[in-house]
Subunit: 204 residues, 4 copies
DNA sequence: TATGAATGAGGGTTCATTCAT
DNA sequence: GATGAATGAACCCTCATTCAT
């Protein structure tokens, strides 16, 4: 499976935008100049590679999905367990080079329905292809986990996916709350809760 | 417990904004003129009641929290079960007059960290008072549910809250996806999954 | 000579506006609400007596001119000297009830040419009548002062008027500078300089 | 003495604003769009060079002061007379390139006390430096004029300054009156009166 | 190719004026 | 008559986009 490649400037733009998103900025509040500055390039240069501000976002999300799919691909072994994948994923989230995984939901969340719909339009097929790829890996992990008793056999793939996404969504919310509401929650207890929610809800 | 009352114009503004938010618009993309139009009043009139666009949002969120707390208060009986509360809540979400409950998370989600922090500043004490009130009801329900076997006694209140909020967050995401990605998910199956996620993860 | 009379509300409006002007506010920066508040009446009430904000100004200036003319009329005696008139005038400026005389130039100065031209349009004849009246008194004083040696007989009335208005204009500027530049000038030395400028320039 | 230099766009903005001010517009009545149009640049461009409308004014006044100080510097010779300086200055006022000298007092006059105080804040030190420079030239001229008998030795510098500023202020008023009241005064007679007022009041 | 100076459409906000009470 | 709640035109300012260099 060959992933699309990007020029250094494009990647700089992606990482610049993701950096800003990770800081908790709504997309509307991120200025094109901010992205250019964060990327270390000129504002005009962005328009050599992208057709609009929205396009930068669209491509960034595609790039991020692709990075994620690539990462998942490497994690897949014959009899991988849900437990192992999750642990590795949550650990990965703390590393700088996995910024995209962390920032993507933030970016996505800060979009209105209409913006999301428009984004889908642009790179629809490519995005769909990547999502299908990830769904494949996902199915593989779910199947293995049903065999090893981590997941109740009666549960559908859709429910498993829903449980995991909800737990991760809640995890991100908790982290944000730490940022803006200054409640005293440790990162580790957040991770524990996320994992517990998934395992408890999927166990037989 | 006496809740703050609002003038008709203020409530019109609240509902106008919530209407727009329920439509999936990021706050930055909602124009003051839009709010005025949705509220059926003049743009200038908004500034007779609110000091700024941000203030409209801040007050709307407070109003919504208050509405929610009032509603919860009515649901609480001596030995209420988690099951009953959740069922009633999910049903309520489908009614027009419960628009606020549905739209609030959307509004909140579409804010940047900084915006959220600033909002907290304005009506901090009032918001905190309402949140404390709701935490009280919550604790009551959790206690009852531990007694009647719905919730594992070993689980902390914090984890229970996290599980419920994650499930509801995922539920809202799913509903949104129905809107923008047009996947074929029925409303009922969404509700089922949300309830299942909660019950499966909290059961002993 | 019968002066026009005004209702209490009108006079309240005049004095309200003059009060604000004496505070050094440009007319554009004075809001209708400010005038209403300063006058102790409702905003809507102003529009019962005046057709517009500009009209309030126009009438206020006319009222002030008239007050001034009335005051001058009382000062005129058969062989009044320039010295006596000036001294009395400068003293009067310090009293509260002579606020109009002090505030008028401020109001006038803060108008653009166009605004001034439009003002002139409204009450043109009345204003002209009052100005003519004052010119009459002025001529009388100048004539007397030429006789008693205060004014060089060779100087025209126009030059005398110009000298006095310039001196008073400079006097007001100096007072203002005391307000905003905080230079250490005493009120008395300001008055001295204004009188000196007039007497030195008009003396034979 | 090195004066600050400005970019062409800045100078265009200065001259645009001065042009409008020379037309007798109160600063509050001059719109940013007007300045942009008068300067021959886009509205947005102004905000690349100035932080706000007030900033444009502040910088314009500073620029004008500086231009004036530069001009004065060139006029100063060893034994310059007040008569010569004044004559040259009044002549200069009639030339297009001396627009700033003519427009500055108009701009300044049309500000409220508060606006003036705020302006002072921004470029306080630079403005003070220029004013000090001009005071220096002024003192030089006054000293010479006392020696050559134009100015009464008993008169203080402050009084001399006050006399000149008052006369010029009255001169500008007269010119304005020509504009808006259409009295039949020739430019030359205005100049004559201004000079006479100064010489008569300062002579021994 | 890469840039950032220049732009103007569009947003939040103010405030003179109206009109129902 | 007296009021102030309601209004929308018009302001200042922002920022995505263009284009000459």
């Amino acid at each position: 499976m060959q992933s699309k490649t990007y020029s250094p400037k494009e990647i700089a733009a992606f990482r610049g935008l993701l950096q800003l998103a990770a800081g908790g900025n709504c997309f509307s509040n991120i200025k094109v100049q901010d992205i250019a500055t964060a990327a270390g390039i000129g504002k005009g240069t962005l328009y050599e590679y992208f057709s609009s501000k929205e396009d930068i976002l669209s491509c960034t999300m595609l790039y991020t999905l692709q990075q994620f799919a690539d990462w998942m691909e490497q994690q897949i072994t014959r009899d991988v367990s849900l437990h192992a994948v999750l642990a590795r994923f949550l650990d990965a989230l703390e590393q700088e080079r996995f910024l995209p995984f962390r920032a993507l939901p933030v970016l996505g969340t800060f979009l209105s329905y209409e913006q999301r719909a428009q984004l889908g339009m642009r790179n629809r097929e490519q995005a769909q292809a990547i999502i299908d790829r990830m769904r494949g890996y996902e199915r593989h992990v779910f199947a293995n986990s049903r065999k090893n008793g981590e997941i109740d056999s009666a549960l559908s793939d859709r429910f498993c996916e829903y449980a995991i996404l909800s737990a991760l969504g809640g995890y991100v919310s908790m982290l944000e709350k730490r940022v803006c509401c200054r409640e005293e929650i440790s990162l580790d207890s957040c991770k524990d809760m996320a994992q517990q929610l998934i395992f408890r809800s999927l166990r037989p």
